[in-house]
């Protein structure tokens, strides 16, 4: 009876709670999208809100307290933190998830809008923020110092609503650590921020072994204030945690029972029989696009441990983007809902379910070994073409100087792309801005210049990195080469890392594509980042600081001594002046010695 009472009380309270926290909700969703070439994109999204007034009263509810206190302490209005690894293969995988808004370049990226009266105060708060986040996320964020921090002018716009902020007291700072290796120790604190701590719900699928084995992965944390349209309630502070990963299905499935990669026996190979040289002893591997058959437990190593009880029941926790023609099997307790577009379906999970499993079988109407190109595409959702392809690489050779070349390709046949290209480079890459050049492949364009606006803040040795923002455009169906030269400087030997000959990581370039708004202005619609680069600097010999100091000092002493020897002394003929010879030296030494001996020796008196 008592138990029953407490249960009913609890349910009553929880009902009240639900009413109270209409604004402070939480939801999570996993979207699975098979990609060409046996890849699977898994996008995890967790979002929770708390009202700004509750946040300021230290009433955090779903908002993680540890992060909330740091944000309050550092006066942060909006925060974006990214941990990324790998490369998004836009040529085969198409457009990026979330239009690229939830990804970072390789390593760690952090940008935030801080509220401060002066630049110095903003720098100070930024230092506080990076150091605190460094402790919270077990990442080397404290190494984001002045040389790695920039203040972007055009590239980043606040995502949230800042009604009472002015330009003078809100400072955007951007820091990037391309050398940081993202790993399990960053995932654990990430999961701890979630209300269900990764114990239930879709977060239970996340496992360091699978996440960091992915071809590409990006963990993102975004905190921003969101205000409803005027007069419709209170502003809320929203935290969105996102994990996107591209798993290689073949690779993910392999460790089960056969952890060591071994060649497959001949009869298990999937060969492309359309090749003219296909025969019993030759095999061209068939494109495994349509062969995708997997289950959650195969690709993630485990099943979903029920649903997080705090999540909004109206948001289906798992969605799968495959054409309706494919059949999907789910375990008991799940409910499939196909969407209108015919290209995706979502699954609702009943609260009592403890294990939710999803199985995507191989398309049954086609024999797996005998596929034709036209039919392959229908079995997965065709990836969307991105607005722009970008590749960046170094040119030149040697450790003295080099160039950076970015190839920007606009695939659209009729639409021009306008974007902002941002680089934040380390100070020891001395770039020569007068060599910056944008040219269209196959001849110059006769109308508007490609580069429309440049914002450049040169590097200061050991104090500040280069910040380069270029607003430029790429005409339809053309390729633009953006190039500039730089010089590599030699550092003091204490400034080299222990693995000096590995090279220095150069952060990814951030490309923000602009699209015209209704009111004539342009705003960011799509982001992409190039890969990071590895720049090798000339190195001194680390083994011989003493030798160098001694040799140089000797050379200087020889010059100084030789010079002053000539200046100070008098000339005499060779036979003039006091005698300096071995004989005279001997005399000088022998006479006093004899005297001493004479005293010591007891001679006859």
């Amino acid at each position: 009876m008592r138990q029953l009472l407490s249960f009913s009380l609890l349910s009553f309270f929880s009902l009240c709670f639900a009413v109270l926290t209409a604004a402070a909700d939480y939801h999570e969703q996993l979207v699975l999208r098979p990609l060409p070439l046996s890849a699977l994109l898994a996008s995890f999204n967790f979002r929770s809100n708390t009202t700004l007034s509750a946040f300021e009263a230290h009433n955090f509810r779903f908002f993680p307290r540890s992060l909330g206190q740091i944000l309050q302490h550092a006066g942060t209005r909006e925060l974006h933190l990214r941990f990324s690894l790998g490369r998004w293969d836009a040529e085969s995988w198409g457009a990026r998830p979330w239009n690229g808004a939830r990804e970072g370049g390789t390593g760690v990226e952090l940008w935030a809008w801080l509220e401060a009266d002066t630049d110095e105060q903003a720098d100070h708060q930024w230092l506080t923020l990076t150091n605190a986040l460094s402790g919270l996320f077990c990442a080397s964020l404290n190494f984001i110092d002045g040389t790695r921090t920039t203040r972007p002018v055009m590239s980043f716009q606040p995502e949230g609503d800042h009604p009472n902020a002015t330009d003078t007291n809100t400072h955007l700072l951007y820091g990037v650590l391309p050398h940081e290796v993202v790993c399990t120790e960053n995932l654990t604190p990430f999961l701890k921020l979630l209300p269900c701590k990764g114990k239930a719900g879709i977060a239970s699928l996340l496992d360091g072994h699978k996440l960091f084995d992915a071809s590409w992965q990006s963990m993102a944390i975004d905190v921003r204030p969101v205000c409803p349209p005027e007069g419709e309630g209170e502003c809320v502070l929203e935290i969105e945690q996102t994990i996107d990963m591209v798993l290689d299905i073949e690779r993910s499935k392999r460790p089960r029972g056969n952890p060591i990669p071994r060649p497959l026996p001949g009869h298990e190979l999937h060969c492309d029989t359309s090749k003219p040289y296909h025969s019993g002893d030759t095999c061209f591997p068939a494109d495994s696009t349509a062969n995708q058959d997997w289950s959650l437990s195969q690709v993630f190593g485990k099943t979903i441990k029920g649903i997080c009880p705090l999540t909004d029941p109206n948001v289906p926790p798992v969605c799968l983007q495959v054409p309706d023609s494919r059949s999907v099997y789910i375990s008991n307790g799940g409910l499939e809902k196909k969407n209108q577009d015919g290209m995706s379906r979502c699954f609702e999970i009943e609260p009592e379910t403890t294990n939710f499993e999803l199985l995507l079988p191989r398309p049954e109407d086609l024999p797996a070994d005998n596929l034709q190109a036209g039919q392959q595409v229908e079995n997965i959702v065709k990836p969307e073409t991105p607005l722009l392809y970008a590749e960046r690489s170094f040119t030149g050779h040697g450790q003295e100087r080099g160039g950076v070349q970015t190839i920007l390709r606009n695939p659209s046949p009729d639409k021009e792309v306008e974007f902002i290209y941002m680089e934040s480079l380390p100070w020891f890459m001395r770039i020569y801005l007068h060599t910056i050049q944008a040219r269209i492949e196959g001849g110059p364009s006769d109308h508007d210049p490609l580069v429309q606006e440049v914002y450049y803040r040169p590097a200061v040795d050991r104090a500040r990195g280069t910040q380069l923002e270029v607003r430029m455009r790429v005409p339809p169906a053309s390729t633009v080469f953006l190039t500039y030269d730089f010089e590599k400087s030699i550092l003091r030997y204490t400034e080299y890392p222990p693995d000096a000959n590995r090279g220095f990581d150069v952060a990814a370039a951030v490309i923000t594509i602009l699209s015209p708004n209704k009111n004539g202005t342009r705003s960011a619609t799509y982001n992409l980042r190039t890969t990071s680069l590895l720049c090798s600097l000339p190195t001194p010999d680390f083994s011989m600081p003493y030798n160098v100091i001694i040799f140089t000092s000797t050379a200087i002493a020889l010059a100084f001594g030789g010079m002053f020897n000539i200046i100070v002394r008098r000339f005499v003929a060779a036979d003039e002046g006091p005698e300096v010879s071995v004989g005279s030296l001997k005399q000088k030494l022998v006479v006093p010695l004899r005297r001493i001996f004479a005293r010591v020796k007891p001679g006859p008196r």
């Binding site: 050779h397 040697g398 450790q399 003295e400 100087r401 100070w427 001395r430 020569y432 801005l433 007068h434 450049y456 803040r457 040169p458 590097a459 200061v460 040795d461 050991r462 400087s489 030699i490 550092l491 003091r492 030997y493 204490t494 000339p538 190195t539 001194p540 010999d541 011989m544 600081p545 160098v548 100091i549 040799f551 140089t552 050379a555 200087i556 020889l558 010059a559 100084f560 030789g562 010079m563 002053f564 020897n565 000539i566 200046i567 002394r569 008098r570 000339f571 005499v572 003929a573 060779a574 002046g577 006091p578 300096v580």
Partner: protein, 429 residues
């Protein structure tokens, strides 16, 4: 009378021919080998962080686009160079004007050397006349040696801004010899403004212009003369600095141009001894050794000025040699200036003891230096020690030359007192 005039006319004709020949050679190198200027500009032996033409272009680009070139780590050259080069037609469109400017500067320097040699100052200063002075080279030979020195030609093609300093120093000497102390001081102030180290040449230059004052307007008191002329240098420098301030709008050019030379924040390799020493230096001793190196550089000024009081031009020559070895960012441009000044002392060459050794070392390092740099930077089969070793040998060879010249000049002076010792073996006690 006619003969003398005719001789003078042929000399003028010959000299003009020499200048035209040198100009044509340079112009031909610029135009026939279009890749050569950029290749030489990129050489560390020619372009240092404080003189590089590529950095000048970057500074100019930033200046033209209203970005302060001193708010960055690339441009470390004097602010007044910016409007000068901004006045020239754009280098990218019409490079020939820049080429002509550099050729003109080389010719001006050569003409200054011509005048110095013709004045007879090297052999016979106001206080001392060498018994060997007849065995000297004329202005034509000196100018030809300067203009056709491979180091000078390479410098001209590589277009570092050190040529402006060279020209200013040589003209300061010419003015001092011709009895125009104010002109000398103004030229020296320009040189000091461009690259700072020529300020150390002030004491010998003061003495040179004091000795060579025109009889009519001579100041008897050395202290008064020195005070007046130091005042001239200071006021010209002050004027140049305030013009720079007006151009750039702030004083941040001071730390960026002179501060870099004082603190050696840019450790780009060059032919000097500083860069590798400070790459390898322990951080806690860095400032101490910077002070020691600067003190060492300035230690020679007083000693030489006092010891060779009777021949201030010798002191200037020796100091130029010492700067070519021991200044923070030396290049072969300083070497070409020093060699030109050494050639003025043809008459003491017989007294020098190591001419063959020095010539061999210079040849050896000239060829091996670029090869070892290539092995380190491009081939990867050598390391930094290869190039460092060559700069060490280069420094030792040059300091041997400087010491040897000092010895020869002092012995020349001594043999006036002891004429019977000519050709005899001597020693120093």
């Amino acid at each position: 009378m006619n003969g003398i005039n005719g001789g003078k006319a042929t000399t003028v004709g010959r000299t003009a021919g020499l200048y035209i020949g040198a100009a044509v050679l340079r112009l031909a190198l610029f135009t026939l080998f279009p890749g050569l200027p950029d290749l030489l500009t990129g050489r560390v032996e020619i372009s240092t962080p404080v003189t590089s033409f590529k950095r000048l272009q970057e500074g100019l680009f930033l200046y033209n686009h209203n970005v302060s070139p001193y708010d960055g780590g690339v441009y470390h050259q004097a602010p007044l160079l910016l409007p000068l080069f901004a006045l020239l037609p754009s280098f990218a469109a019409l490079p020939v004007f820049t080429y002509l400017l550099y050729i003109a500067i080389d010719l001006l320097s050569a003409h200054a050397l011509f005048q110095i040699a013709e004045s007879g100052e090297p052999g016979a200063s106001a206080l001392y006349t060498s018994p060997r002075r007849d065995k000297r080279w004329g202005g034509f030979v000196i100018a030809a040696l300067f203009l056709f020195n491979p180091f000078t030609i390479a410098t001209c093609i590589g277009r570092p801004t050190s040529v402006f300093t060279t020209c200013a120093i040589l003209h300061a000497v010419v003015k001092a010899i011709s009895g125009a102390p104010v002109g000398a001081m103004v030229a020296l102030a320009f040189a000091a403004y461009l690259s700072m180290y020529p300020l150390l040449l002030l004491p010998p230059l003061l003495l040179l212009s004091y000795d060579r004052q025109l009889p009519g307007r001579a100041t008897k008191s050395l202290a008064q003369f020195a005070a007046t002329n130091i005042g001239v240098v200071a006021s010209v420098l002050g004027m140049l600095f305030s013009m720079s301030f007006l151009i750039t709008g702030s004083w941040e050019f001071l730390p960026s141009t002179y501060g870099v030379q004082l603190t050696l924040s840019d450790l780009a390799p060059n032919v000097g001894l500083w860069w590798y020493f400070f790459v390898e230096m322990f951080d806690s001793f860095r400032s101490f050794f910077l002070a020691v190196f600067w003190l060492h550089l300035s230690a020679y000024v007083g000693a030489l000025t006092v010891r060779i009081r009777r021949q201030p031009l010798v002191v200037l020559t020796l100091l130029l040699g010492i700067f070519a070895i021991f200044k923070p960012y030396p290049s072969i441009s300083d070497m070409s200036l020093f060699l030109a000044a050494v050639s003025l002392y043809r008459h003491v060459f017989p007294l020098m003891r190591y001419t063959f050794l020095v010539a061999s070392i210079i040849m050896y390092t000239t060829f091996l230096g670029p090869a070892f740099y290539h092995l380190w930077i491009y081939a990867g089969s050598g390391n930094a020690n290869f190039f460092y070793a060559i700069t060490l040998v280069w420094g030792l060879g040059l300091s041997l030359l400087v010491c040897d010249l000092t010895f020869a000049v002092l012995r020349d002076e001594w043999e006036v007192e002891r004429p019977e010792m000519v050709g005899k073996e001597i020693r120093q006690i």
